[in-house]
């Protein structure tokens, strides 16, 4: 199992810190919801954990896994949906780390590919170009790619934004299964109900740690209100 530990972490853009001197550790083998208002730095934190932005100060250590053992799903996907590629080929990109650049997709991979595609309910659409998928189907395909990556650490940035209730429920089930398999999962969310349902742990975050621990004790009206008050503080300053 992998444990993510953060020590004195400061993150920001263009020399301006957004998050200053954050400390803590994410519970290993569990799902943690990262909850916070817009601009709280949730995406920034997750990108830093994925190794996509360098800390201005401090360190992120991943115990029990290497930096390369992280599966990261960006908020907007960042995927060019006009690219001429099929669902199957998109999902197969998840093998990249396992196979290296030269390895071929063999029988075992084919099997895992179809299992992953079936698990997200896309069986029958394998050959469809990704441009012809609905938003929900596309997000399902991206989840299948994460599944294929088979990583001990999974970072999801607002994975349910813009999805209908049915898709959210289906993909939420996948998140719960990942945690059940002992993977360390972080999910940036803004829906408290979804967070309570899917994640045993929660971090309420507003450019600093507001509350961190088991979801029932953490996702309280007080901590959410405190995060909102902090957000009003910085949005007021930035508007000025």
């Amino acid at each position: 199992m992998a444990r993510i530990r953060i020590c004195g972490l400061s993150l920001g853009y263009a020399g301006e810190p957004v998050i200053r001197g954050m400390d803590g550790a994410f519970a290993e083998g569990q799902a943690t919801a990262v909850i916070g208002p817009n601009g709280a730095g949730k995406s920034t934190l997750i990108k830093a954990l994925a190794g996509l932005i360098a800390p201005m100060a401090g360190v992120v250590t991943i115990e029990g896994a290497s930096r390369r053992d992280i599966a990261y799903l960006a908020q907007d996907g960042g995927v060019d949906r006009d690219f001429p590629i099929s669902v199957e080929d998109l999902v197969a990109l998840g093998f990249e780390r396992r196979l290296g650049l030269f390895g071929g997709v063999g029988v075992a991979e084919r099997e895992r590919l179809s299992t992953a595609i079936a698990a997200v309910g896309l069986t029958g659409l394998e050959r469809r170009p990704i441009g012809a998928l609905s938003g929900g189907q596309f997000q399902r395909a991206l989840f299948a790619r994460v599944m294929v990556q088979d990583a001990p650490v999974i970072l999801l940035d607002e994975p349910f934004t813009g999805l209908d209730a049915r898709t959210t429920a289906a993909l939420g089930e996948v998140v719960r299964r990942w945690a059940g398999e002992g993977r360390t999962v972080l999910v940036a969310l803004h829906d408290l109900d979804v967070a309570r349902r899917l994640c045993g742990q929660a971090l309420v975050f507003a450019r600093q740690v507001v509350a961190w621990g088991p979801s029932p004790q953490t996702l309280t009206a007080e901590s959410i209100e405190r995060a909102r008050a902090l957000a009003e503080g910085w949005s007021g300053r930035e508007a000025a």
């Binding site: 390369r68 960042g78 690219f83 990249e96 780390r97 196979l99 650049l101």
Partner: protein, 298 residues
Amino acid sequence: MNGIGLDLPGLAPAAAGGVIVKTAAAGALSLAFGGAPLGTLLIARRMSLMGDALSHGILLGAAAAFLLAGRDPLALTVGALIAALVVTGLSSLLARTRRLPEDAAFAVVYLPALAAGVVLMSRKAGPEALEAMLFGAASALDRGGLVLAASAASVSLVALALFIRGFVAESVDPGFTRAEGAGGWLHLLFMMLVALNLVAGFRAFGALMTVALMMIPAAGARFWARGWAGQAGVAVLISAAASGAGLVVAARLGVEPGAVMTLCAAALFAGSGLFGVNGGVLVTLAGRRRLAGRAPVA
């Protein structure tokens, strides 16, 4: 006009007869196999302008080599390749700092490179040499040039076969590839392959026309196939057909083939847009008509 290529004294391309046309055909065919699949990827990743930018950027290198070593084809090629490396590297670096989008970063680097190339060439070599670099001189395609074109095609196809998964991953989802720890060097390698093909073609068919033969067939191929691989195959066919037809017509008209080949590619693109099975005009119209025929039921 023999331009700055290897001179064949007294022989205009049209008058040079079968030998030149055959060499040019072999060179163009090689470029079709090497360049068209790259063009497909460039279009798929919305980087059509990058090929154009690179083709301008290599002029500075070729001009510098021309001034240093005269008409030596090897020097011209090496100079152009170095310029391509510098243009690609500098603009990638600029884009990486995230102060500029990638296409803007390219524009900021390649336009000055083009300008410097133009200044150098006009001062030291005269307008014909510059024109030959932009629009080509088929007579410049000697054995060395042919070997270069064939090598560029071979290297491109081998590299595509080896790295295609990485190239596609990097095109579809750059953020994902970066998180996976590849990305940067794959991108550079890809741009170098594009540069290599442009360099291989630019002396014979001109920098601008070579990029046209890379991009226009790839654009046309989108009307025939949905997947990347199918598009690449069709693009090779269109490019080869355009080159062949262009060479024959150019020999008849007694003009440089690069421009005629480009026009032939454009004609094939128009044909593809009209008759193509994947979103072509006729197919779309037929589909609408079928729908309209059913409409009264509702």
